[in-house]
């Protein structure tokens, strides 16, 4: 099982902060395609991945990264700290 976590408007569009999923996706991009196929709210949230960032096990990563060995995948918009 893989934990998928959502923040900010990604969380709001999908309607939940985190979920455990069973996936065979090899890369982040594969997982995104899988999620988009699920339901319109996922499709809407991931419509423009250039507006999204991804972290694998709390390290910033990118959409082409492999998922092997990853426990937690987080999707969120560009950060606005400071």
């Amino acid at each position: 099982m893989t934990e998928v976590v959502y923040f900010a408007w990604v969380r709001e569009r999908i309607g939940l902060p985190r979920e455990s999923i069973e996936t065979t996706a090899l890369t982040v991009a594969d997982l995104v395609a899988e999620l988009r196929a699920r339901e319109p709210r996922y499709d809407a949230a991931f419509a423009d991945v250039s507006a999204l960032r991804v972290a694998l096990d709390q390290q910033l990563s990118d959409f082409s990264a492999p998922l092997a060995g990853v426990h937690e995948i987080a999707f969120f918009p560009p950060m606005t700290g400071g």
Partner: protein
């Protein structure tokens, strides 16, 4: 070194009073305050990614510390609901010379803006909206 992610309000003056260490010749502080540009903002809400936030702040502070030989470094960032006029965050750097203290503080600010997992939502009378990242914040990283 002090790194803190907190919901509680903090007092920048009290933080400065305790900051520095014995060999500092130059201390720089930056304090960010909730600003109301529209005149109608009711609050600012800050979401973050627990765990990753602390790790990112620590990494940024350690990198600044090593690169500019800081004798002390401080990063405080609030999360949760903040009112206009309240401090959001603060960084402080202590070094032997002014250039190092300034550069380290600016470096930390640039990285906190775009590489620490915080998201700001502005709450007004007609609802809430997420503040978009600025391309200039991403570009600011190129100078380091």
């Amino acid at each position: 070194m002090r790194i803190s992610v907190q919901t509680a309000r903090f007092d920048p003056a009290a933080e400065l009073a305790q900051f520095g260490g014995p060999h500092a010749g130059a201390i720089v502080t930056f304090t960010g305050i909730v600003r109301d540009d529209t005149g109608t903002m009711q609050a600012l809400e800050l979401e973050h990614y627990p765990g990753m936030t602390e790790a990112a702040m620590t990494r940024i502070a350690e990198e600044a510390s090593a690169r500019w030989s800081l004798s002390d470094v401080l990063v405080i960032h609030r999360v949760g609901r903040l009112a206009v006029g309240e401090p959001i965050m603060m960084v402080a750097t202590a070094a032997r010379h002014r250039q190092a203290a300034f550069a380290a503080a600016e470096f930390m600010m640039d990285y906190l803006k775009s590489r620490a997992p915080f998201w700001k939502k502005q709450i007004g009378p007609e609802g809430a909206h997420w503040i978009a990242a600025k391309s200039t914040d991403e570009e600011a990283l190129n100078r380091w």
